[in-house]
């Protein structure tokens, strides 16, 4: 498999702001690669550089073997893009928008097929300005597919959408992968990255702070599995002395880090026989979200900011 996108030490500055600060990553052909990061992380900047509509400050970028800034016109024919905050001509109907794009790309219009595919009602005669957020986004996806692209850039395609529209778009993205297209997806929804992506890069403040499959990332950056006991916090000290494992009180329950297979059993039997009051127990493992929040930093509130509308950045 050859790489669809190769990025080496990419830097983009806006005056004093280092929006992208030396990132490296590779997207393999046929995979869904997600950029996961809070608002202002540098996702859009990176994507726009790869699309050839923004020059980089320094670093190497190769998209389908081309330099996106220099070969933008050749690349255009082979990539499909739905930009963040997708907007279109307000007075055009969806079918007309697709016809326009088809004319510009010089391909026969497949309006019916594409509208069908993104589940945008074909008979809908509404103008773009009257479409709902989800319908607009679906049209954006349909337009991105007009030229039958090998590589699709989807910049926050579901931000601000209701769950049903979001699911419809997820289905389209899965379809793209099934057809062997490469997808570069950016999102600040963890769930979305986890559900759709083969590999994820977590980006914050212009740096990639973790990359790999969701499992890799959790394994590498997540805390070990824990046993959580809802019970008397007084047990913490004796328990730690007894089992020799890190123990702490977390969210009102006693949390023990498990290092070996038998640890849970050891802990539970000691607690049961110790006489400390306890009501229930469970095991917990870091989710991608836990990892994400920890990596991006608890101080960075934007990490948990799930904006109801598309972010303005």
């Amino acid at each position: 498999m050859t790489a669809a996108v190769v990025v080496k030490n990419l830097v983009k500055t806006y005056g004093a702001v280092r929006a992208v600060d030396g990132i490296d990553f590779t997207i393999e052909t046929g995979e869904v690669f997600a950029f996961l990061g809070p608002n202002g992380a540098g996702k859009t900047t990176t994507v726009e550089i790869l699309e050839g509509i923004r020059p980089s400050t320094s670093g190497e970028v190769s998209v389908l073997g081309k330099d996106p800034w220099k070969d933008a016109r050749q690349l255009q024919q082979r990539i499909g893009v739905i930009p963040q905050d997708f907007h279109f001509f307000p007075k055009l109907k969806p079918r007309e928008a697709i016809d326009l794009y088809s004319g510009l790309f010089g391909v026969p219009s497949r309006a019916t097929e594409l509208l069908d595919r993104v589940e945008l009602p074909d008979k809908d005669e509404a103008l773009f300005e009257n479409l709902s957020g989800g319908q607009k986004q679906k049209l954006g996806l349909a337009l991105a597919l007009v030229n039958d692209p090998q590589l699709c850039f989807l910049d926050e395609p579901t931000t601000g959408l209701d769950p049903r529209a979001r699911r419809a778009i997820w289905a389209v993205i899965r379809g793209l992968k099934a057809e062997g297209r490469t997808v570069f997806l950016t999102t600040h929804y963890l769930e979305e990255a986890q559900l759709l992506a083969d590999r994820i890069a977590i980006i914050n403040l212009g740096h990639i702070i973790a990359a790999g499959t969701p499992k890799d990332i959790i394994q590498r950056y997540g805390r070990p599995e824990r046993l959580q006991i809802v019970g008397d916090p007084a047990m913490v000290e004796p328990l730690r002395r007894q089992v020799g494992l890190p123990v702490e009180v977390q969210d009102g329950s006693v949390s023990v880090e498990l290092h070996a297979k038998g640890d849970a059993l050891k802990v539970l039997s000691w607690v049961d026989s110790s006489g400390y009051r306890y009501s229930s127990f469970s095991t917990a493992q870091d989710t991608l979200e836990d990892v994400f929040i920890r990596l991006v930093g608890a101080s960075d509130h934007s990490a948990m900011d799930i904006a109801p509308e598309g972010d303005a950045a």
Partner: protein, 366 residues
């Protein structure tokens, strides 16, 4: 440049325009409203004293001077004696757009003395019927008085009447080319100011830059549309002017080069204004700052030749002046040389501004 892309984009652009009632209003309806308002206000305006241009071929003989001062005394006309035009009074009136003239023939006084009949020639413009009536009434009144006093009642002085040729212009005749020029300015310029600022904000240029459409193709499609709009607007205005006010304007080949070059020029102005401003609001302000002096000083509503000299000087640096002057030359005066000169100026300014606009206007981000 790719014709298929231009066509595809043109269709979408035109649909967007037609579906926006505001744009159509300003292109087609607004100029008609202006014609109706200005036409109604000025058609019957002016003092009731009609200027009467007199060519006295009787060498200022006492009798002819007495005749003219009697005319002046009627209060209905104001006599302006012009230097003899070698009998070409009609042409003089046409050139100066005056509606009434009087020719006193050589031998007027001697005919009066000899009591042989003599004709004065009255020129009036049928399009200015009320003024013509005033002039004819005044001349006939003075004639009877003269016949009574000088000839004891026998008819010596009589008048013959000539229509001044088709080249007499009323206010409305000037208004039509002026408003055609005005609509050539406003709709391309304001659309472009609006497009180049709001499309940037809404990232529509970014959207287009993701397709093979080039900036030149985009501009071409837009310009074709504005040229078509300008032509339609001009035809509508000429039609309304003719049917409602009997304006002496007709469709002439010379107006078309201006209907092509004008929109190109003002599309460029709008693109420049929109590109240099940071927000759509600033862009709109800049657009208005450009519009107002042009609207009033370029001869849209009043002929520039009637301006004080310093304002005429100002008018001569405004591109719209040359568009309107050229349209006047073409539509009213049939003056190809003048129209050509104006066209060359418009084309040069359009080329310079177009180049400037293309260089400052970018689709891609930085």
């Amino acid at each position: 440049m790719n014709g298929r892309r231009i066509r595809s984009y043109f269709v979408a652009f035109a649909k967007g325009y037609i579906r926006n009632p505001i744009g159509l209003f300003f292109t087609l309806i607004f100029p008609i409203i202006l014609i109706l308002i200005f036409g109604a206000v000025f058609a019957n305006a002016g003092s009731s004293v009609v200027p009467l241009y007199v060519e006295n071929l009787d060498h200022d003989s006492p009798a002819s001077v007495a005749f003219l001062s009697a005319l002046n005394d009627t209060g209905a006309v104001q006599v302006y004696v012009i230097s003899p035009t070698a009998g070409n009074l009609s042409a003089y009136l046409a050139k100066n757009s005056e509606t009434a003239g009087l020719l006193i023939p050589d031998g007027f006084e001697s005919a009066l003395v000899a009591k042989t009949p003599v004709d004065v020639v009255v020129f009036t413009n049928p399009a200015a019927a009320s003024q013509a009536g005033i002039v004819i009434g005044a001349v006939q009144g003075v004639e009877s008085a003269f016949n009574l006093k000088e000839a004891g009642g026998s008819v010596v002085v009589s008048s013959s009447y000539l229509n001044v040729g088709s080249r007499i212009f009323t206010y409305i005749d000037y208004l039509i080319p002026g408003l055609i020029g005005f609509s050539i300015l406003t709709s391309p310029m304001f659309s472009m100011v609006n497009i180049s600022s709001t499309w940037k904000r809404d990232k529509l240029f970014r959207q287009l830059s993701l397709t093979p459409l080039t900036r030149a193709e985009w501009l071409t499609a837009a310009m074709i549309w504005y040229v078509l709009l300008a032509i339609v607007a001009a035809l509508v205005m000429i039609f309304v002017g003719r049917t409602v006010f009997g304006a002496h304007v007709s469709v002439v080949p010379w107006m078309f080069p201006f209907l092509v070059a004008g929109p190109v020029l003002f599309v460029s102005v709008g693109l420049l204004a929109g590109s240099v401003s940071k927000t759509p609001e600033t862009a709109a302000v800049i657009g208005n700052v450009i519009l107002f002096p042009m609207m009033f000083l370029s001869g849209t509503f009043f002929p520039v030749s009637g301006f004080p000299q310093y304002l005429q000087t100002v008018a001569h640096v405004l591109p719209l002046y040359y568009v309107i002057d050229g349209l006047n030359d073409g539509i009213l005066f049939g003056n190809s040389v003048g129209a050509l000169r104006d066209l060359v100026i418009v084309l040069i300014v359009a080329a310079v501004l177009f180049a400037a606009a293309v260089s400052v206007f970018s689709w891609r981000e930085d």
